[in-house]
Amino acid sequence: MPEEPDIELSFRGGRLVSALPIALFIAWAIFQSGILGIGDTTGLVAGMLTGLIVGLLFVRGDWKDYADVVFAGMTRRVAATAVVAWLWAGMFAETIQVGGFVDGLVWAATVLNVGPGLFPAVTFLLAALLATGIGTGYGTAIAFTSLVFPAGLLLGANPVLLFGAILSGAVFGDNLAPVSDTTIVSAVTQDADIGGVVASRVKYAVVAATLAIAAYLVAGFGIPGVWGGMPYVDVAGEVSASVSPWGLVHLLDIAVVIALAVRGRHIIEAVSWGLLLAAAFNVALGAANLVDVSVGSMLLFSAPQNGLTQAVEALPLLGAVVETVPAGQVGVGGSVYSGAAGFFPLIVLTLLLVAGAEVMRAGGGFDAIQELVIDRVATTVRRAETTMVVGTALVNATVTINTAAEIAIAPYVATLGKRFNINGYRRANILDANTSALGYIFPWGGGLLAGYGAMQGLVGGEATPWFTAEMLVNPASVFPYVFHGWFLVAVFLFAAWTGYGREYVSDRTSEEVSRV
């Protein structure tokens, strides 16, 4: 973790005013997506920009310091990591999708007789498995929304419930995976070894996941009132009688990505290998006429018609990625292009949000909250643990990117926990579970936005021509259905109150921090 810069800011009205940019953004997000029902990420970018400008007006002294803090936030490594993960995962997921993977899943679900009722519960389990393997909940949300979500819709599963199940699986993996960035942050900041942290959190994750599976089964098969109140889009008629199983070969390149990630390879390296393999499969499947895919599905330059472009189009090799079109349809396309482009608004939003969090740190907003909590609220071990759970949950409910929120709250959890000699494993578990859970529930949560970005990519996508803008799940409507996230928070509130899973420093000291 890089050292925080030394710039401190002073705000008119006190330290809590430093939270103004983020507070304004949250109000904007609630107004835009919660009340008006507009799930436009670029609209949220405008909200965060407005917040940062309004915050500037309250700065005492040199406004240049405020600008420097904004820059310091945007150049944080955590922001760059999120950007890279989204670009690469976006390209990969889209490339698999044009390769017929959705059709393959529909074929498998039909053969295995997984109906619309069972589909959300199965999706939760598979998403949890993938996320635990690759350690990125955002990547899982993107991959499953691009690939499994349309398959579920074609089978007649409820879209809102299905999106909730995908996000739940992402929460599970983000929480439990040894290679997850939130897991690593939780272990490192609480002075505990990663293996011990993961082993000790199974007892909470399993309880919450069991409840979540039951909930998805009950909701999937439809209790009256739950099913009836959900928007339901019937596209089941779109399932072709003869969907091809061949897209399932892409399970191989997914396996390659997971295997490389688990071995500790960098996400750029792991996903690039998967992408190359997927592209090779697509070319082979297309050449063998097994799936309707070609090089042009992955990259296509649509050029205006003239002598030069027509000559290029006629060339061998290069001509495969060039077509000539009427002037109005000129552009670049294909899965590599649209997979990455789908995340541009979210990437800009992330950079601005991390800047907002940095302003709050430099202005003392985080410190003000800490002092209030430690001295007045956390007077017994139960109240201290409850405060750790609620505090972590609240910070993560407000800061979009959960790794950033976790880094911000981690020192408070350490100070509060050490005061009552709560074991490092327990502290890390409280920190990570509530970080993972809340990042995928609310409409401005990074995990939810990542999935939603992928869903927007389905509109008019080459592999999903039937998916229209009306079928998009409103990001503000999914929060009640992220069952695993809610159950995880509930399990920790229960554990704080009853002492379930509690360990003291004197019971067992955590081992040295080591990278696995």
């Binding site: 000790s200 017994t380 071990v381 050490k418 005061r419 327990r426 899973g501």
Partner: protein, 87 residues
């Protein structure tokens, strides 16, 4: 500790007021400093140490419990070793 032991540790409901036996040596963080003395809270149980040997709040110490009243969850102890703050 083996991986299996790590997996099976802590599947219990642990009390908010743990008890200790005189002579027991434990590791704990310092919760508060009062003059030369220290207060160590383990959950809601409190162990008081008269000679803190310079240990600061959030320092880890090795501590020998010298007495413990299980009814009021209060005891006394002596510093065996100051391990210092976490890395």
């Amino acid at each position: 500790m083996s991986r299996l032991d790590k997996l099976l540790a802590g599947w219990t409901f642990r009390t908010a007021t743990p008890t200790f036996e005189p002579g027991e040596v434990i590791t704990a963080y310092v919760s508060e400093r009062n003059g030369d003395g220290l207060t160590v809270r383990i959950g809601d149980s409190i162990i008081r140490v008269e000679d803190g040997r310079g240990a600061a709040v959030e320092d880890k110490i090795r501590l020998e419990v010298t007495s413990f009243d299980a009814t009021n969850h209060v005891g006394t102890g002596e510093v065996v070793e100051v391990l210092g703050p976490d890395a």
